[in-house]
Symmetry: D2
Subunit: 317 residues, 4 copies
């Protein structure tokens, strides 16, 4: 009998590999302005994490010829569930292969999203163990908060561009058990965006329509702060450092998160966010926004910035 | 084969019934100072909810001879899981019975906690449907935010007193699948407190040691705000209204929530909170605090108020 | 010898009279959404105040054929200084006349700004005395905070449109002693904006260039909140009430205030703000912004909304 | 004719000299945890400032045998007013002498408070000029905000202990023109505290009763943040660094400021604060608190910490 994946089988988004042709500048940006912590290097990659991330790393920054995403990784609920999800992928006819353990985690099953994004699922992981002056004052936190730069608390979510939003939405819902929380559907059947959750958060993964003809592109990844004041402070830090803000701080209608978007030096879009709503209802029905509703802009009326619809990494040639 | 309950089977805390010998005063307090919405009356009970609660109600206020908790209710993940949890209860030798549908939800299985608190689990529920001037501006929210009084967003958690904290902790973990997130254990084996979660939140239910000889007592219930500024504003609202604050605003070490405690007119303790951390790790190991660590007070050093250890409802005779 | 007015002679902005052809709607808007308190009626006017305003009123709302400002009023430092300022006005050739005491304050000297705005200066005033459930819990506050609607704390400042910004700036600086804090000067000599302060705040009065040919027009008035979170909350209150936000919340470069702009029903622009910087330096030199600097938009890069440059009340015919 | 000093003659608190027997530890504490900027060294002193302070420095840290305050300095409104204040001091029989220019400012007139605290008043000052990576992104700010440590915005106020609070209050009010904003008076005539302002802030200088027999002692000095969230963040920074918090974060009834108190390594008490109210009324009447009112603790009921009444620097022998 085919395994029927359910909500919770994917425990959470684990990490993202970002590609950068400006490796040194990107690394300096993430460590000194964003305030992430370097926690390892292997080959052409450096591994980074926010102070509140429980795993060894959440961002793998890799020297490359273009910007964009190398891969994204999700942690399964257990090793048994990991195997069941692999069964589910196989039953759905998805090609994939096991990869041996790598930096920070155990064996991972690797496959592609319907739009060609590289995905890994894994269970075994290395939890971060603080030593020395990283030992936290709060024993339920993985690491001491270091007040330097923006210093976000944790990885939150990822947004990808796709030609076929519906295919991606159904894939992560039906094959991997994620919950569909919100959608943008124009004119009754034109899917422009989909938000999916593996947790009680309003989303962990989003797909939005790629208006170019490219495949497998990256829209943004998000680190989270505890308060909207932290996001406002981040806006000042970026402004003082001469980093252009693409849009925000403002509030998304979708997901209700408070957002701030900018680019790291190689052009990958980064978000610093806060808030959003939690979903406790096991019967949650997706909230669907139509063209007219989306034309009203963000929550407080800010027009959605045009680059949000057109710019992804790697950029169009 | 016995069903082995797992994390997620209990979807969330659904509602709490509070008893009050000062019914009219309590009701006025909850509606005009706390800013909850009345949404129904049956017999000696009035039903209340916060603007962000998705179910019909989260607080049942019942006229009674004493203060304290009537019952607490948890919603199961599905109707199938509800039946499995009933099997789990039976397998554990817990006496219980089905109760027909009542205000706002379907059939519930009723039983007692090891300390005698009344518990219900249910699945079918009536979701709140806003009409008229309650229709929200944000379609992913159940109701329009009404800026009157404290106006918390949603029910968050419940704290109960118990003679045997360990028994209660094991019961909700082993029989109902809740995650143990934090504990207070004195001198190696003396359990003074246990925090359990049904969701990614740091807790949904807590038990702390009852230093009286009573059973089945209530410590506090908590409604949540989106920001710490909202909690500070709540402190001003209470102060201006002449309502004594028991302790806070301050930050808990355990759960990392920002807290504010006070009493409704009949003496039941109420908390307005914000924040806390989310747990994504499916392998989370409980964080255990010892006597010395707890002696340091709350997160920023505030001594834990003595009434916190001695006062519950109904009060000792 | 001519009196030489100095900083501090004008103690503060006292009140503003707004004209409205939608009197009932405007009044309902200010009392139930903005959350001001009605404190008196005379003829075609109703008098309103924020809970933290120390005088009897700060907003006079008057039924009229058009929108716009009736007059603005400043309180002098003392009765002796009031007379000296009248001497200063006469010495500058400004026509004016004394008006007997009116609602809430004593005799006022009335004159026009160089652009034709009606101005009053007065000293004697009626301080608000709280009674009943308005008596504050904090005895250093004039009134109890009432948690209904936006509920700003106090009147902050006023922005007027003018054909000749320089003339208005010099008038309030040289004749009335206000401090020039910031300016916008394009191409070396084209004054587009001027900010003036009577207090340690970064401004109490601003003039910006009227790009129409009208005179004496009103741009906006501002009530202040204690925190940026309060402004974000105000944005939600407006959105939920279906009130369109013109721009914000965002941060001004000039004055560093956190802003939110919208229109009351008759079209007068209202701001809810927070923050800004205090000026302690008695030698403060005006900060002058040029065309290029202003082209960068607001503090975090938000483009200044075009209506900000073109819309004032009464609107152009 | 004797000069009659008036409100505004003292423009603001300029700087404070703190003495420390733990010079290196104190300096490291102020630069890396508090996040002040070092801007000069002369002899046994190092000069520090917050990023938003407009003068060259606001804190002079001096190696000494004991803790406590070396001196405090106020800037006069103008050079003419400085001479008038000296006349006022002489007319009041206060001994003093001129001191030549020193680090960061011009000639100062030096004298003692009635309790023996050293005071300087000066007018000429060196304004901070940012160069290199300290040049601010906001041209109306003196320096770029550096997101390292607590990073307060500016010096705010100073609290001193005195045997005769009334004498100190009258001295700064009558001889130097400061405004009396709030007072604590027990049993009709026992002055326990006095708050004075040179600006629109609710206070710039406070005196509280020294319950020891010492003279000239220091209670605390305060650096200010823009938001209460910043103060909560400061509490986490201190906790994570193992610095004990004496009391707070909480809200003062007096002055309405949000406070957080701790000690720098040599034992001088430091406050990080935010908020408070502004006084615009030129006729402000002091708010007087009696014994019963003070017995209610701070704004939200927190008991005033006992060390607040007994500990000052240098400590009692």
């Amino acid at each position: 009998m085919t395994y029927h994946p359910q909500f919770g089988d994917i425990a959470h988004l684990g990490h993202i590999e970002l590609l950068t042709p400006q490796f040194d500048s990107s690394l300096t940006f993430f460590t000194s302005i964003v305030g992430l912590h370097e926690c390892g290097r292997v080959g052409e990659s450096v591994f980074l994490r926010a102070w509140g991330d429980y795993e060894r790393f959440t961002l793998q920054l890799t020297r490359a010829a273009t910007s964009g995403m190398g891969h994204m990784a999700f942690r399964a609920r257990s090793s048994a569930v990991l195997l069941q999800l692999v069964e589910s992928l196989k039953a759905a006819g998805v090609a994939g292969e096991w990869r041996n353990e790598s930096f920070g985690h155990g064996p991972a099953y690797c496959f592609s999203s319907p739009d060609g994004h590289q995905v890994e699922i894994y269970y075994e992981t290395e939890k971060f163990r603080a030593v020395g002056d990283q030992v936290p004052g709060y024993k339920n936190m993985p690491q001491r908060y270091r007040p330097l730069g923006i210093a976000p608390k944790r990885l939150d979510h990822l947004n990808l561009l796709a030609q076929d939003v519906k295919a991606c939405r159904l894939f992560f819902h039906e094959v991997l058990g994620m919950r569909i929380t919100e959608q943008i559907v124009f004119d009754g059947d034109q899917e422009m965006g989909a938000w999916l959750a593996a947790t009680n958060k309003s989303y962990d993964l989003a797909f939005t329509k790629d208006r170019s003809s490219a495949h497998g592109r990256f829209h943004h990844m998000t680190y989270m702060m505890d308060s909207r004041e932290d996001v406002l402070r981040a806006a000042d830090i970026l402004t003082e450092a001469g980093v252009a803000i693409e849009t925000g701080p403002h509030k998304h209608s979708i997901g209700q998160t408070f957002f701030l978007y900018f680019y790291e030096p190689s052009g990958n879009r980064i978000e610093i966010g806060s808030g959003g709503y939690l979903i406790f209802d096991p019967d949650w029905q997706p909230v669907i926004w139509n063209r007219e509703e989306r034309s009203r802009g963000q929550a407080w009326g800010l027009a959605t910035v045009s680059t949000f619809h057109t710019y992804g990494t790697p950029p169009e040639e």
